[in-house]
Assembly symmetry: C2
Homo-oligomer: 367 residues x 2
C-alpha cells in the first residue's frame, strides 16, 4: 500500500518520513502539513484529510527532538532518586510517572544511591538534556549548590520526601515528625518504657558512604518527633542505633539493640529495611514480635499486614506524595508560581505488633 520511497524516488536508505515528505505527498507546503497534523490554525477540510492520509501512508512519526529544539521545551521531566528498587521510591516514582504522563510529560529516571557525586552528575545531565523540570530526592541536607543553578539554566525543581536547610525551593514531604510522635505515644500508652529507635542512614545500594552526614532530613525529623514525644511524657531517653539501609546492616543493628540489658521492649524502625532487620534479629534470638518485642515501622507494605503478627506501621500517602510533587512541578513549569513546602499527613495503623505491657504478666502461651 504505502510506497516507502520518501520523496526522492530512490528510497533505498529508508530514512523515516519527514514532515516535508508528507507535505509533498499531499501536495501542500510544510506549513500547511504542520497545521493539519497539529490541528491548529486554519486548514481546509480537504487538505487536512489529504495530509492525514499522506502521513499514514508514509508512516510518519513526528520527530519530537526537532520539535523540542524549536519549541525550547522537551515535555520531559527528570527524577533523581536514591534507589528506584526501594519500595518507597518505586511507588512514588510510579505516581510521578503516571501524573506526569497525564499532563503530557515523560519521565527520565536516574539513581544516585544517595551518593552526592552521582546526584550532581545526574542533575547536570538532566539540565543538558533540557528537561522541563526536576524532582529530586536530595542525598544531602547541606550540599545543594548543584541544585541552585545559575538563573539562566535554572529549571523548575521540587524536592521529594526530604528537604534541605536554607534553600528556598518547593518540596513535597510527609509529616514524619508527627508520625513518629504518634508511634511513641502508642508505645507509651501500652506501658513501654525501654524504647529504642532504629534509624536508617543513607540508602546506599552499594557500599559507599560518601553521605556527609548520613542521616537525611526525613530520618532526622522522625528522630526528633520521637524525642519530643518521649520528653513531653516524661519518659526516659530512648536507645538509639543507626544502620545502613540494607537487611544485613539493619539486622546487626537490631541484634545489638536487642542484646542490651535490660532489653528494650519496643522499637521504632524508620523504614522498611529497619523493620526487616528487627524481624530478622527477633527470629535469630527467638523473640516474638508483639510479645517480647513490640515494633512499629514507617511505611506500610503489602507484606506488613499479612505476616504474623501483622505489623503496626506509620503509613504515608506515598502515591499522593509523588503526585503532589508533579503537580507542583508542572505548576512551576507553566509559570503559575511555585508552591512552598507541601506536607502530607501520616497515619498510624495499629495492627498486632505492639504488646500491652500492662497485660503482659499473664501472657504466657496458653497450653
Amino acid at each position: 500500500m504505502a510506497d516507502k520511497a520518501n520523496g526522492n524516488g530512490k528510497g533505498n536508505v529508508e530514512r523515516p518520513a519527514r514532515l516535508i515528505d508528507v507535505a509533498r505527498r499531499a501536495k501542500v507546503s510544510r506549513a500547511t502539513a504542520a497545521r493539519a497534523l497539529g490541528g491548529y490554525g486554519f486548514v481546509g477540510e480537504q487538505t487536512r484529510k489529504r495530509v492525514a492520509a499522506a502521513a499514514r501512508e508514509l508512516n510518519y512519526s513526528t520527530n519530537v527532538v526537532a520539535r523540542s529544539m524549536r519549541a525550547g521545551t522537551t515535555q520531559t521531566i527528570g527524577v533523581v532518586v536514591a534507589d528506584i528498587s526501594n519500595s518507597f521510591f518505586s511507588y512514588a516514582t510510579r505516581a510521578i510517572i503516571d501524573t506526569a504522563a497525564q499532563a503530557g510529560y515523560q519521565t527520565l529516571v536516574l539513581n544516585t544511591d544517595d551518593d552526592l557525586a552521582k546526584e550532581i552528575d545526574a542533575v547536570r545531565l538532566l539540565i543538558e538534556k533540557r528537561v522541563d523540570g526536576l524532582i529530586v530526592v536530595p542525598s544531602s541536607a547541606t550540599s545543594f549548590d548543584h541544585l541552585v543553578l545559575n538563573d539562566d539554566l535554572a529549571k523548575p525543581l521540587v524536592l521529594l520526601d526530604r528537604s534541605v536547610i536554607g534553600l528556598g525551593v518547593a518540596s513535597a514531604c510527609t509529616d514524619d515528625r508527627g508520625g513518629a510522635k504518634a508511634a511513641i505515644e502508642l508505645f507509651l500508652e501500652r506501658g513501654h518504657v525501654r524504647i529504642a529507635l532504629l534509624l536508617a542512614t543513607a540508602a546506599a545500594h552499594g557500599a559507599e558512604t560518601s553521605q556527609p552526614e548520613g542521616v537525611v532530613s526525613t530520618v532526622r525529623e522522625r528522630a526528633a518527633g520521637a524525642l519530643e514525644a518521649l520528653a513531653a511524657n516524661g519518659a526516659p531517653e530512648p536507645i538509639i542505633r543507626y544502620s545502613r539501609s540494607d537487611l544485613e546492616a539493619s539486622r546487626d543493628a537490631a541484634l545489638e539493640l536487642l542484646r542490651q540489658r535490660p532489653r528494650p521492649t519496643a522499637i521504632l524502625a524508620t523504614n522498611e529495611e529497619m523493620a526487616l532487620g528487627v524481624l530478622a534479629a527477633c527470629g535469630e534470638l527467638g523473640l516474638t514480635i508483639g510479645k517480647e518485642v513490640s515494633l512499629i515501622s514507617f511505611d506500610d507494605s503489602p507484606w506488613a499486614k499479612v505476616i504474623a503478627p501483622a505489623m503496626s506501621v506509620i503509613k504515608r500517602p506515598v502515591y499522593e506524595l509523588g503526585s503532589a510533587a508533579v503537580t507542583a512541578l508542572i505548576r512551576q513549569i507553566k509559570g503559575h508560581g511555585k508552591s512552598g513546602r507541601i506536607e502530607l499527613p501520616t497515619q498510624l495503623i495499629d495492627r498486632m505488633s505492639v504488646a500491652d505491657v500492662h497485660k503482659q504478666q499473664v501472657k504466657r502461651p496458653a497450653i
Copy 2:
C-alpha cells in the same frame, strides 16, 4: 565573577549561554569551541584552556537536544513496563537504568498496567521521542504489531521477562519452566499429593482487564513446567486458580483454594502477590505455613527470608536480567548484531515453608 551577559551586552533576558557565546568569549569560532569542549580533533593547548575558561565563566551547558538533532541519536532508551512499583519490575528497572547509565544512556520509563492500549501509546511516544532503543515487557503474547515497526522507524528492541509468539525479536527471560519444575519436584519429594497452582493474570494496577488472554508467557511457562513435572512423576493433576495480581484478589483466590476438600497441602505461587495472598488466607483460616500448608513462591524478596517461617522461593536473577537486556539492546544499537533469546537460570531456595508430609503425622505442636 562570571558576568552573565551572553554575547550581547544587554544580558537582560538571561538565556542560557550557547556554544557561540563561549566561542566569542574565547575569541575562536564555534567549530574550535566545539572541538575544545568535546575533546576531539586538534586544538591548541592555549585555545583549549581559553575555551574551557569561557565555558565555565558563562556557565555553559551543552544543549543535548540540539546535539541529538544533529547526531540523530538521543542517548536515551525507553523502558515500557507493566508497573514500576511492582518489586520485580522496579528491581529490573534499577538494573536497566544502572547499566544504561554506565554506557552513557539515560532511561525514560513508562507504565502500562499491562494494558495493551497504553503499551501501544507508550511505544509510539518513545519512537516520536526518537529513543535509541526500547526494552518492553509485552502485555500481550499475541498482539505485537506495534512492536514490529515499519522498518524505517524500527528501533532496536529487547523484550524483558516475557516473550511473544512468532516474533523474531531479542528477549531476556528466565527459566521459568525449570523453576516451576524444581518447585513441584520438591513438593513431590516431601510427599505432597494435593498440589495447587495459584497463577497470576495481568498485573493490572487499576481494575482494567483489557488483557486479551490475561496470562502472560512467563506465567504460562510456569504452569507448563509444573504440569510437566507432575506428569513426569505420575502425580495427579494440580488444582489451578487464577488471580489478578493484587493482594485482595489473590487472597480471595487462595481462600477458595484452601477451602477445597480435601484441602491442597502445597501451593505454588507464581509471584510475590500470589504468595502474599496465600499468607493472608492462611492467617484468616488459622492455617500454619510450613505445617498445614506448604508454599513456594516465584521471586525472592527481603521479607521472604525474614518472616516466620521463612518462605521457600524460586529466585530469579532479576538484576542480571535487566542488565542483560540492556547489554543486548546496546549491542543492537551499535549495530553489533542482535541477540536471540537470552534465558537466565532460576534457583530454588528451600527455606522453611515446605513441610515434609512423611513426618507430618507426629508433628503436633509440642506441649
